[in-house]
Symmetry: C2
Subunit: 227 residues, 2 copies
DNA sequence: ATGCTAGCGCAACCGGGTTGCACTATTAAC
DNA sequence: GTTAATAGTGCAACCCGGTTGCGCTAGCAT
């Protein structure tokens, strides 16, 4: 019997609902077990449909995660900008200022999003393959736009050139991915890291370490440019 | 006929020769096509033996690349130290000094090793899986030792604390991997990057960009500590 | 000369991603 | 009201890379 287990998605709205259901399932599984460990079969059984049916919503597995990465960029960018330059209504007169405070915002907002860090670590190497160039173009344009928005926010609170701000954002996201890789490389491997004293700090201290590096970058740029 | 195509490696010396042949083949292929694209079958046919026979020299595919990564760490570390603190006999009275010069050394030595950058990008996420914990321990200990050696060299030429030097090394290797990913993500994808004006600089300008970031990091650390 | 050992190739297996196809529920047309 | 077209789904097969089990044989040792 090839009867569908549940109602078919016929209307555009129903399709959208199913699409978001797939994305949410992928997000939950990837958060729990890491992007790398999540297979199409896992997502499919979590959603309740067959994996071959899922691939008519997303042309490939990588595209699912590329979509999640795009969402991650949007949310992170918004979060950073809200914290650096609170919108008018917000009562925060204490806009974060100074390299250390700004670095702290970047580090905190990133480490608070382990899935986003995971996706950042995977992005060009693993996610941008087996996907149509169109999909890559859309994603890259979005990521670049969001990164530029964060860069503008940095320029607004620190004496940076746009290029320097761009490099700072690249450092933040790049190092977040790189440090995350050491922090969460699978359960048994992570236990190994934790059990090895000289490596334990890498697993535990990601946020302060990232903040420290970003502080140095921002301070190095700012002192050169400031009056 | 299951006759071996070539002489069997019986003596320990012969085994060692074959092992290095495998490593060299993997190195050449990975340099040409990228680590990710190289399969066991590729390496095997390059060496001239069957892939199942190769797996008696290395317990798994990842272990081959983990070995190459270890070699990369050794060579890079040695190169950096030689340039920062030339050994006694070397006539270089001009030991590189100042954040910008040191950053330039780090950036140049890394970008001159695209395969090492590739391996750095893969390391914890992809290479440290499917390998015995013993192999990971050996590799991590070696990488950590070499990184510490580079950190010591940095401390010798710049006013840094050991922790700051360690973060600087982590930034150098982490960002080298992250930037490399964008620069060389497969031929057709790379052409896409090059054809997209707003992305082209990321593909082309890896070395100066990395040098700029590292200069900021070192300057940010140094100015805080210097007299 | 005759076992024994150990390196090798082959073929099978496994698991993940992808594709082709049959099935049916809805909808549209007559 | 019946019938034909459409479209979403499940199943099974396929592909391909990594891994494993097994038989074969070259070379050493007895």
């Amino acid at each position: 019997m090839n009867q569908p287990k549940f109602e078919r998605a016929r209307s555009p709205e129903a399709k959208l609902i199913r699409e978001t259901a797939i994305l949410q399932a992928a997000e939950r599984l990837a958060t729990e077990h890491g992007v790398r460990a999540v297979t199409l079969t896992d997502i499919a059984s979590a959603v309740g449909m067959h994996k071959s049916a899922m691939l008519r919503y997303f042309e490939t597995r990588e595209e699912i995660f590329l979509r999640l990465a795009a969402d991650g960029w949007r949310e992170w960018s918004q979060d950073v900008r809200d914290r650096l330059c609170p919108p008018a209504g917000k009562g925060a007169a204490d806009t974060e200022t100074g390299p250390a405070a700004v670095a702290d915002v970047l580090a905190r907002t990133l480490t608070a999003r382990p899935l986003f860090c995971d996706l950042l670590a995977h992005t060009p190497l693993n996610l941008e393959r087996g996907v149509s160039l169109d999909a890559v173009r859309i994603f890259k344009t979005l990521a670049l736009t969001e990164a530029a928005a964060v860069g503008s926010a940095l320029c607004a609170v620190l004496p940076l050139t746009p290029a320097q701000a761009g490099n700072a954002v690249a450092t933040a996201t790049g190092m977040a991915g790189a440090l995350w890789q050491m922090a969460a490389p699978g359960t048994e491997l992570r236990r190994f890291y934790e059990d090895t004293p000289e490596l334990a700090h890498a697993v535990v201290d990601v946020a302060p370490r990232l903040a420290d590096i970003l502080t140095a970058v921002l301070r190095g740029y700012s002192t050169g440019n400031a009056a």
